[in-house]
């Protein structure tokens, strides 16, 4: 429910207190509701990054869409990558509403992406040189994404929560698709198994990085803390990473694959997984846009965007003429 009119007579401080009470009472904030700039900015950061990650996330898999081995796999991976684009669209719509007071549009989001001001998930900066990578991405990257997105389902921002609900439903199909791809390779020829193991080796560190560093110590940011305060999220990066390991390490072993980390084990006493820390310095560089495939994928996005500028111009002109 909108509370725009009822708040009109309050000072900013009172508005903020009212807002925080709503957060503490687990009320949902809607697009038209009063919100502190800080909250709005956190949301914009979170949701544009999420949305653009979905769109850039189409690229590592896109490589394998035309090459998918069978008719069935071709249809499935097309549907899957289309879903990711659809998620991007859904999220950008949510972000666009939040950007309105700043007079910004999707065009600004795209330009921020091209100038590397807007970051996207580390995993989508990585190469995917074989069909095995397509399988590992669909199984484990999507698996990791499900964990972090499910955690945010109860987010305090209503429109984001509703978008996530739909996204999570579709993601569960993706992880089944991923499981099926992985299973076919794991049960296949020595060559197919080798392809799968090599892909897992490539993706292990990026997967650990996916959840972000344990604390602000590693990267010096406070976004996680803020997001917890505003109940945009409910778990820390490390809690999610532990969940991921608990869920997937046994499955990986069951398939007869090995995890490329000799130190990985579950410490019964501490009740947690011990693992080789990823290189957080490398992580920082990757999300800054200096990963192995960052420039190439951004160039692909940018050149296709520029190449079709005439189409968007034509559509705008056509709409103008129709008014």
């Amino acid at each position: 429910m909108s509370d725009v009119t009822s708040l009109a007579h309050l000072t900013d401080e009172e508005k903020y207190e009212h807002f925080m009470r709503r957060i503490e009472n687990d009320e949902k904030i809607e697009a038209e509701d009063w919100m502190p700039d800080d909250y709005r900015e956190q949301l914009i950061k979170l949701i544009t990054m999420h949305g653009i990650s979905e769109i850039m996330g189409a690229f590592p898999e896109k490589e394998w869409v035309p090459k998918a081995p069978t008719l069935h796999r071709k249809l499935a991976i097309m549907a899957k990558v289309q879903d990711e684009m659809g998620h991007g669209q859904l999220l950008l719509r949510v972000a666009e509403d939040l950007l309105k007071p700043y007079g910004k549009t999707r065009e600004d989001i795209m330009q921020d992406l091209f100038s590397k001001r807007l970051k996207f998930h580390n995993v989508f900066h990585m190469p995917s040189p074989t069909w095995g990578d397509a399988a590992v991405i669909a199984w484990l990257v999507d698996g990791a994404a499900i964990l972090s997105q499910t955690m945010m389902l109860k987010t305090s921002y209503g429109p984001y929560g509703r978008a996530l609900k739909r996204i999570c439903q579709e993601e569960s199909f993706h992880s089944k698709h991923g499981e099926s791809l992985v299973l076919s390779l794991a049960e296949g020829t020595p060559e197919q198994r080798r392809m799968l193991q090599e892909a897992l080796n490539r993706w292990w560190e990026p997967l650990l990085m996916f959840f972000g560093p344990k604390s602000s110590k590693e990267t010096g940011h406070t976004n996680v803390d803020k997001n917890l305060k505003y109940k945009l999220r409910s778990k820390t990066n490390e809690e999610l990473r532990q969940e991921f390991l608990t869920k997937y390490v046994p499955k990986i072993k069951l398939l007869g694959l090995s995890v490329p980390d000799d130190t990985l084990h579950f410490d019964e006493e501490k009740g947690e997984w011990i693992y080789q820390e990823p290189d957080w310095q490398k992580f920082k560089e990757i999300i800054k846009g200096n990963g192995p495939k960052s420039d190439e994928r951004l160039a692909l996005r940018r050149s296709s965007y520029e190449n079709s500028q005439w189409v968007r111009d034509a559509l705008a002109e056509y709409r103008m003429a129709a008014v």
Binding site: K62, P66, K67, L75, Q82, E317
Partner: protein, 265 residues
């Protein structure tokens, strides 16, 4: 089923399957590169439907003992493909991962031409005396209406907007006209296809297409070329193809061919 009937039927089924398969493949290369995100999502739906149609036809061929559907799609040489050459042309210069300079105008016109024809053809196939094919046509037609609407909308908008857009579209129209004849033909067994009751006559369908396209052209004030649609780059129905088909087949079968021992993917 006489041997002659079967031979002509499989010829027709390969034309139908390969048209949709190659067309959907070229469409799938656009994924992530369409003019805007909404179109990316919509276009991908269309490509999935179209490839799904190809799967239906390949399965009909499989049922006739022509080999596994996946082998038919991935292991034949270009000369065995029966698609119209227009459908195999690259979307533009560059590769789908490397500096693609894809041509949206060409894509819109190619899809419009093809989908107007596909709908006419499916209507005709509903009367086919090969029952599994008539059933397939009925099923596919339910999706075809939406595809056609999609491309008609693009066509009207891009033909009636900026000068640049109009110029690009007119160029694409001329280019597609050069090879649309290769889609409209049934190839060397065309007369037999009709005589055996598999599909209405090539001439009748072509004339329906010309009438519908002329109507669309006049809506946007475009004059139909005076000559018939040609097949400047060969008749794909008879196995003549451009180098672009080799390029497509190499990509789409790369993984499938990579491990000859593999029994599944």
């Amino acid at each position: 089923m006489t041997p002659e009937y079967k031979e002509v039927l499989t010829e027709l089924l390969f034309q139908l399957a390969d048209d949709d398969f190659i067309h959907a493949f070229r469409g799938s290369e656009w994924l992530g590169l369409a003019p805007h995100i909404e179109e990316d999502v919509a276009f991908s739906s269309i490509n999935q439907d179209t490839m799904g149609h190809a799967v239906i036809y390949y399965k009909l061929l499989e049922d006739l003992g022509m080999g596994a559907a996946d082998d038919l799609a991935h292991l034949r040489d270009a000369s065995a493909f029966r698609n119209g050459v227009l459908l195999e042309f690259k979307n533009g210069s560059g590769e789908y991962l490397d500096s693609p300079q894809y041509d949206w105008a060409f894509t819109v016109v190619r899809h419009l031409f093809y989908d107007v024809y596909k709908k006419i053809k499916l209507e005709a196939l509903k009367q086919s005396n090969y029952e599994p094919l008539a059933n397939a046509a009925r099923k596919i037609l339910t999706e075809q209406t939406y595809h056609l609407m999609h491309w008609q909308t693009w066509f009207r908008q891009l033909m009636q907007s900026t000068e640049e857009s109009r110029a690009r579209m007119e160029q694409a129209l001329l280019r597609c006209w050069e090879d649309m004849g290769g889609v409209l033909t049934y190839g060397q067994y065309g007369d037999e296809m009709t005589a055996l009751g598999l599909i209405g006559s090539e001439e009748a369908l072509k004339n329906t297409w010309l009438a519908e396209i002329t109507k669309l052209f006049s809506e946007v004030d475009y004059k139909k070329p005076s000559d018939e649609p040609k097949m400047a780059h060969g008749n794909g129905r008879n196995g003549e193809h451009s180098a672009d088909l080799d390029h497509a087949l190499k990509i789409l079968s790369e993984v499938y061919r990579s491990d000859s021992q593999a029994s599944g993917w």
